[in-house]
């Protein structure tokens, strides 16, 4: 008989050892989720600093150098510290329960891949307190800004990126091994829940491109410290090469962020529509083709570097092609809801908002993919607005939906529905007030990553900052609601939790026992 997990009642040494040495997928999932939420708050604090400075024209609160560190750290912490670990946490919690496996395939590696992550971010964040300040070259760390002109702390940044890359690679290898080797009897690939499918494909993307990111920062490291000239024109290198290598990683990275979010929404919408997901197999093929195409469109991030016209046209058309499988997905979500018996619990609200706002962000992406038009949009707030619509309203909304949807299963308590809905509406309205005006600012020519702006941009910047503060406040409410659910939530005993929920994770007890599916279930 497996022993239960240590609780605080066993003394804090035992309790701390449980979390430090745990190989249980649910424990590690919980660690990932809390860590990513902490990073989300930290990255959010950086965002609040940015928006507070941009509230009015002129320099109010900080030096421009510090502002640059804020924009850089906000991007790095949110992408690598908040969104990615949040979805790895969801994968840890849910994939074994969804495919009827007792745990992840490589539990010790799972522990390692989580526990190196706090060190990576401790190193990264510590640079803010060092002489010369933290990284200030933007989250895309283009050379030569990040090499010739970088602060000395850039080596800590590089080391941090190496560690988080190793963590991601180990995490994704674990997910692939679990999905490929540990499915319950009868759980064929085409019976897997869509969340498992999207994560399997994402994990392959991660294994393929995180090493390329590691390669890019390694080349930076050698240029800075060992006299090579990968990105230095003086020695025969080329800074444009950096952009190619970075975006060869960076474009698949945006799908690494959004594909698991697609998976989450594909689980939630059928539940609250009380209909099976429309077009399951087309969803799988669409996901796979998006993943494949993500490798062949990277240069659309760099239309302005001076590519030959043939290159611009190729990357433009290839990028537009991605709208087709993405459109298939949006069509399927809408068709799933069509004529369904819809109810609007908090997870469903976030999912519907996801579909609407992600589609909106997709359309601005199409605008940006037009090479000729991108000459104007490039590096303006239009781009900032675009990727916040797909990353915040996309990945973060779906992550929030996932937490509300599975929280009762995780802790056996129901969250406060009213508070959830209030949070949703503050977040939804705040988000749109924050980012919709940034489209206008960008089209009017306001460049991104500057600490100050011309007076003609003042009004919309103030509106945008107010929206950002609203959105930030909604996250505090979110944290409060989750903690309150765990401490004071109304107990749920029904394994099903949600009326329309389907899948193996809803067949185990609520709250989910520490060990599930020690005997594999039979899947028909």
């Amino acid at each position: 008989m497996a022993h239960g997990p240590a609780t605080l009642a066993d003394g804090w040494v035992k309790y701390a050892s449980r979390w430090l040495f745990t190989t249980n997928h649910k424990d590690i999932g919980t660690l990932y989720l809390w860590f990513s939420f902490a990073m989300f708050i930290l990255g959010g604090a950086f965002a609040m600093a940015i928006r507070a400075e941009l509230f009015q024209p002129g320099m109010q609160l900080m030096q421009p150098e510090f502002f640059n560190q804020m924009t850089t750290m906000h991007g790095l912490v949110m992408v690598f510290g908040a969104i990615m670990p949040a979805f790895v946490g969801l994968a840890n919690w849910l994939i074994p329960m969804m495919i009827g496996a007792p745990d992840m395939a490589l539990p010790r590696m799972n522990n390692l891949s989580f526990w190196i992550l706090p060190f990576a971010f401790a190193i990264l964040v510590a640079t803010l307190f060092m002489e010369g300040g933290g990284p200030n070259f933007g989250w895309t760390f283009y050379a030569p800004l990040s090499t010739t002109f970088a602060p000395d702390t850039v080596n800590y940044f590089i080391f941090g990126v190496h560690i988080m890359g190793a963590s991601s690679i180990m995490g994704s290898i674990n997910i692939i091994a679990t999905v490929m080797n540990m499915r319950a009897p009868g759980m064929t690939y085409m019976k897997m829940p869509l969340f498992v499918w999207t994560w399997l494909i994402t994990a392959f993307l991660l294994v393929a491109v995180m090493p390329v990111l590691a390669g890019a920062v390694t080349m930076m490291l050698m240029d800075i410290n060992f006299g090579t000239s990968f990105f230095d024109a003086a020695g025969g290198g080329d800074p444009v090469l950096f952009q190619h290598v970075f975006w060869f990683f960076g474009h698949p990275e945006v799908y690494i962020i959004i594909l698991p979010a697609f998976g989450v929404v594909s689980q939630i919408i059928p539940t609250f529509s009380r209909k099976p997901l429309f077009g399951y197999s087309s969803m799988v093929y669409a996901t796979a083709s998006i993943a494949f195409m993500s490798f062949i469109v990277w240069a659309h991030h760099m239309f302005t570097v001076g590519m030959p016209i043939a290159g611009e046209l190729y990357f433009m058309y290839a990028t537009m092609l991605i709208a087709v499988p993405t459109g298939v997905k949006v069509f399927n979500w809408i068709t799933t809801m069509y004529k369904g018996a819809l109810t609007y619990e908090t997870p469903m609200l976030f999912s519907i908002a996801f579909v609407i706002l992600f589609t909106f962000g997709g359309f601005t992406g199409l605008m940006l993919s037009i090479a000729a038009a991108d000459m104007q949009y490039h590096d303006t707030y239009f781009v900032v607005a675009h990727f916040h619509y797909v990353m915040v309203a996309g990945a973060v909304f779906s992550g929030t939906a996932a937490v509300y949807y599975w929280l009762p299963k995780w802790c056996g308590k129901m969250y406060d529905e009213t508070m959830g809905k209030v949070q949703f509406w503050i977040a939804f309205i705040g988000f749109n007030i924050a980012f919709m005006p940034q489209h206008f600012l960008g089209l009017a020519g306001m460049p991104r990553r500057y600490a100050d702006y011309g007076l003609q941009f003042a009004d919309w910047n103030m509106v945008s900052s107010i929206g950002a503060f609203m959105y930030g406040a909604a996250q505090i409410l979110f944290l409060f609601n989750v903690i309150r659910t765990i401490t004071h939530g109304k107990p749920v005993n029904d394994p099903q939790v949600w009326e329309g929920a389907e899948g193996l994770e809803w067949t185990v007890d609520t709250p989910a026992p520490y060990h599930t599916f020690e005997k594999p279930p039979e899947v028909k």
Partner: protein, 181 residues
């Protein structure tokens, strides 16, 4: 650990290592090759061994010279002639002037670039100061030589070719700075 996990783990780790090596050892040369084929960045080839070709006297091409200093490079650096008119196939020598205006011994490196991009492949340098770095002692002046031939196959629509040099300060990276201390 089950055997099936082990072999899968080995394969996936191999993919990760291969992609890392790909990023460092394959992508940069591939990029250079791509730039060389397409002429992006106006990259010119290395030293050219002159071959016997017939000088094409039916057309003339203007070759302009541009010199620029990178970042903080303090040297005076300019072409002695700003443009010349040549026949394709004709060998022509021109000089650039460089003057180390500082009180320190320095080393410069000029990086060439040719516009338009489709002319880069047809601009041959049989001798060029840019093949080596240029050490100049404090206050020293030099005339730097370049001998070039325009290939007779130069596309017909190209009437003007611009050769631009950017001069970089590479004193720190060559070890001279260390030697002086």
């Amino acid at each position: 650990m089950e055997t099936s996990h082990r072999s899968l783990l080995a394969k996936l780790l191999a993919i990760a290592v291969a992609m890392f090596l790909f990023a460092i050892f394959v992508l940069p040369p591939l990029y250079d090759l791509f730039c060389e084929i397409t002429g992006i960045g106006g990259r010119t080839d290395g030293k050219y061994e002159a071959v016997e070709v017939k000088v094409d006297t039916s057309r003339q091409v203007r070759v302009q010279f541009v010199a620029a200093n990178n970042e903080q490079m303090p040297w005076e650096f300019y072409p002695m002639e700003h443009s010349v008119v040549v026949y394709p196939g004709e060998s022509r020598a021109v000089n650039f002037f460089a003057h180390n205006t500082t009180g320190e011994d320095m080393i410069g490196q000029a990086i060439p670039s040719v516009l338009p991009n489709n002319a880069a492949d047809y601009f041959h340098k049989t001798a060029c100061f840019c093949f080596d770095n240029q050490p100049l002692a404090a206050g020293e002046q030099a005339e730097l030589g370049l001998v070039f031939i325009l290939d007779p196959d130069l596309p017909d629509n190209v009437n003007t070719v611009t050769l631009s040099y950017t001069l970089f300060d590479i004193t720190d990276r060559t070890g001279l700075a260390v030697a002086q201390q």
